[in-house]
């Protein structure tokens, strides 16, 4: 049902231009990876703190507030490079299980991060409770799945 849409994606001007270029895909991929580094850092500082390790000298709420703009910046870089990467190989993505695992976990991770994790992190101080630890662990697991499935798109 969605296949015609994926075919259209790949036929777009942007999709064609990237697929026809030698450098565009590798450069976009490299920037996508830089976004992953920033995303990983911005997530980990807070998730580790929620688990009770890492920067334990600061309250959870303070770290979460500081990390937030960098987390959002990282997500913008990821999406801005991820969409053109997708457009250049949409049909391959359509038949790729890893792609679907990634794309179904991603919205869950986003809603969880900005809906649940953010609210809890804001209300936590120096001693994160069990609820906070569970949320830190779930956040790590969700984003790990997104990243691992994302990497596996290229292998399968």
């Amino acid at each position: 049902m969605l296949e015609p849409f994926f075919r259209w994606c790949e036929s777009t001007l942007v999709g064609r231009a990237i697929a026809d270029s030698v450098w565009a895909f590798p450069i976009l991929e490299a920037v996508h990876l830089l976004g992953l580094c920033l995303l990983g850092g911005a997530l980990l500082v807070v998730d580790l703190r929620m688990l009770g390790v890492g920067l334990t000298g600061q309250p959870v709420s303070q770290l979460a507030r500081h990390a937030r703009p960098w987390l959002i910046a990282a997500l913008i870089v990821m999406v801005a490079t991820g969409i053109p990467l997708f457009l250049s190989e949409a049909i391959k993505a359509y038949y790729n299980t890893s792609f679907w695992v990634k794309m179904s976990t991603l919205p869950v991770a986003l809603v969880f991060t900005f809906g649940v994790r953010e609210r809890v992190a804001r209300s936590e101080g120096m001693e994160p409770g069990p609820r906070c630890k569970v949320i830190g662990a779930v956040s790590l697991a969700l984003w790990f799945t997104v990243a691992a499935a994302g990497r596996w798109i290229g292998f399968s």
Binding site: V22, P26, E29, A30, V31, L33, L34, L36, C37, L38, L39, G40, G41, A42, L43, L44, V45, L48, V53, G54, L55, T56, G57, Q58, Q62, L63, H66, A67, P69, W70, F144, A147, A148, R151, W152, F155
Partner: protein, 185 residues
Amino acid sequence: MIERFLEWLGETPWSIALLESLYAWPLVESTHVLTLGLFVGATIMMDLRLTGLAFRNVPVQSFTGRLLPWTHAGFIIMTVTGLLLFYSQPLRYYHNVFFRVKVLVMIAAGINAFVFHRGAHRRASEWGDDAIPPRAARIAGTVSLTAWALVVVTGRLIAYNWFDCDIQPQPGWVNWLAGCEAVTE
């Protein structure tokens, strides 16, 4: 000398098995890439603090004391998986332009970290609470951010054979950088 050794290394049964494996190589490579989020991610956070761009009211000693063990753990995983990947195709990587630039930049990043820890960081008790750290720390943070970004980009580009010795003709400086004269001799 090095060529002969790497050629021998690449012909050892484990090297061939790793390169030709259906899952081992992709798993090692994926671990290498995903650990970027831990190692480079944590490094970026500390560098942003050193440049005064983020976490301004978190003491620098919190980063160098409590986050650094996580960075080190990430570094160990990166090194082990990276060496394994090199072991799977030693001669190819040795003559890969991007690999060579990556190694040089990593050495530069290492020297930068060493200089910072031996220098400005020793007096961190005096300035660690400052929103904007002193010049030496800001420079160390900026150099580190730039260097690791270059390492990530060149690392990703190792996968492409554009400048490999068996793809000719190339400009002279590319062949020089890739050390191709030893191959064509």
